[in-house]
Subunit: 375 residues, 2 copies
Amino acid sequence: MTDAARPDPNSTLSYEQSGVVYDLIDPLKVAAQRAAAATAGHLAAHGFAEVAASRGESAYVVDVGPFHLASIVECLGSKALVADEMQRLTGRSHYDAIAQDTIAMAINDLITVGATPLVVQAYWAAGGSDWFGDSARAQALVAGWKRACDHCGVAWGGGETPALAGIVADGRIDLAASCTGIVSPKSRLSLGDRLAPGDAIVLLASSGIHANGLSLARKLVERLPAGYLTEVAPGLTYGDALLAPTVLYSPVTEALFRAGIVPRYCANITGHGWRKLLRHPAALTYRIDALPAVPPVLAFIQQHARQDDREAYGTLNMGAGFALFVAAEDAARTVEVARAQGVEALVAGRVEAGPKRLLIEPLGIEFGSDELQLR
Amino acid sequence: MTDAARPDPNSTLSYEQSGVVYDLIDPLKVAAQRAAAATAGHLAAHGFAEVAASRGESAYVVDVGPFHLASIVECLGSKALVADEMQRLTGRSHYDAIAQDTIAMAINDLITVGATPLVVQAYWAAGGSDWFGDSARAQALVAGWKRACDHCGVAWGGGETPALAGIVADGRIDLAASCTGIVSPKSRLSLGDRLAPGDAIVLLASSGIHANGLSLARKLVERLPAGYLTEVAPGLTYGDALLAPTVLYSPVTEALFRAGIVPRYCANITGHGWRKLLRHPAALTYRIDALPAVPPVLAFIQQHARQDDREAYGTLNMGAGFALFVAAEDAARTVEVARAQGVEALVAGRVEAGPKRLLIEPLGIEFGSDELQLR
């Protein structure tokens, strides 16, 4: 890009400017969702049925008799590009963290429906056989993948490691994970049919940007004096801060079940930031009166991208990686259970009767029902 | 590539020359397999256990009590590059066929363990939002995906459609599918513990190259007078012939179960061609005395790549897309059941006591135990 074409560095950098054009993707998504929904009847031939409320949720659920089966495939996104650039700049491979991010994308979605993740499969598609020739990087990927599986108590079933020259860009890797789990007992299903006014909203802390908003974060590098090596806090570079691995939340949801707490609904806060709190289809108002601490890297992004709070909270997780909607009487104990698993948490607000909207009161922000179109 | 650098057109074109260097990938695969195997114990915390014999097989199997759970993620590979080139040359999108290929890669592997596929998830990672802007191509992908799900009686659960500029090459798409199924009753498990001398080898016909060997097939285009438009048979171009979609074999395995036939073992014939018949770890001899018809496109590739039969059968499917190892008394009926599902089949040989080797008698070829390293 020439200087003449460079955008005004004082302007707001929005997610759309970072290059992902949803208007082009969305018609395909709608067509695919319709076609997919039309295949559900096939399960009847096996004596099974889909749990229809899971259509459009974060994981697909099938009633297979003694329990529900949940499955998902999820992509890391562009975070690996940050790891590649930081390896070039510092020599250190962050692919152990990147592996955890990839697994987190799948597991943190799968658990929203109340599932216990059982098996993860690895999808590592490289731009050529050469990618695997950097053995330190490859071993970091393997070690990080295993450690994340150990942390979540899932079996790593296997996977696919194709070399896709001409499809995946030279020197790059396309990382994804599929995950299969069960909802057992079936009463653990948390698709939101019991979500009601009076329920509490508990937010689980994020570790940083996680794996959403990276297109924006990478675009922002152009504006920083030392690029990825610009310090976010003393001794912490922007690149290192971005690469803090995504928190794995399944130990929390498993511990909640052992403690006798079944969330009424869950939202994994990924793309669209806090607008994901509007995920449930019901007309309900979500009132937030307490905010989690904002990780330094997200405060830094908001500042340098010159985003106002509305843009920041509507795009990034701003310190909340996962939302649990629980009965009011379970709220305090939910926080305790999360902390006992090493995950900071707070009772951030409550569900109320009223039009579908999210009110972030400490910031004076309101998001309406038209600001999250997922179905 | 300049003419000076062009390889001798009379030389043999091997799979390694086509650009995939297994020596670079294999150390990672071994490390990943070891790390993955070490995670199996986590299932005990849920009261479950892996079916250890599925490690290294085509799908991973977990005993979850009333039945076994099987899961997999599989990549299409580079076949989409042929579709892209044919669209450029003819204007027609073959992404309906490409969708079937992608699903076949997952389902044809999943069924080898005796599983009934239940749910497919789509992984469509494009090089940018633009990819989805070609609506004819996008709709072909959706329609083909649904049709393949309908054909196999699986529910399309959902999936992921990321735009991955900088990771996936501009204008390309990385396609994969994950599939979850169950082995029910558990006696359907076909991991080969009952495979024994005397068993028959039934080969199911392929429709062409399927989705393995495409790197070689694309490399060969450089040698053809009219490239992808060179005729393989009157009125049939090389490009169109390559794009015949992979046969979906799950209707055959489901029909076999309904007919009371449980294969002792199955092998999906993909990479490494007929060497996949050596997949089972036991020391057994596989003697082939009858060959399936070779699809014209594969005969054409063998001829123009100047491969001898050993190279061709050790690389391509040569007309056999899937192998069923069944009790001798079930062999003839297995062929009938497959034909009733519209899939040509033949009793091609038998399992014998003896050292691990594959004898393709009509061609005088022998492959030894060291010629397929998968574990």
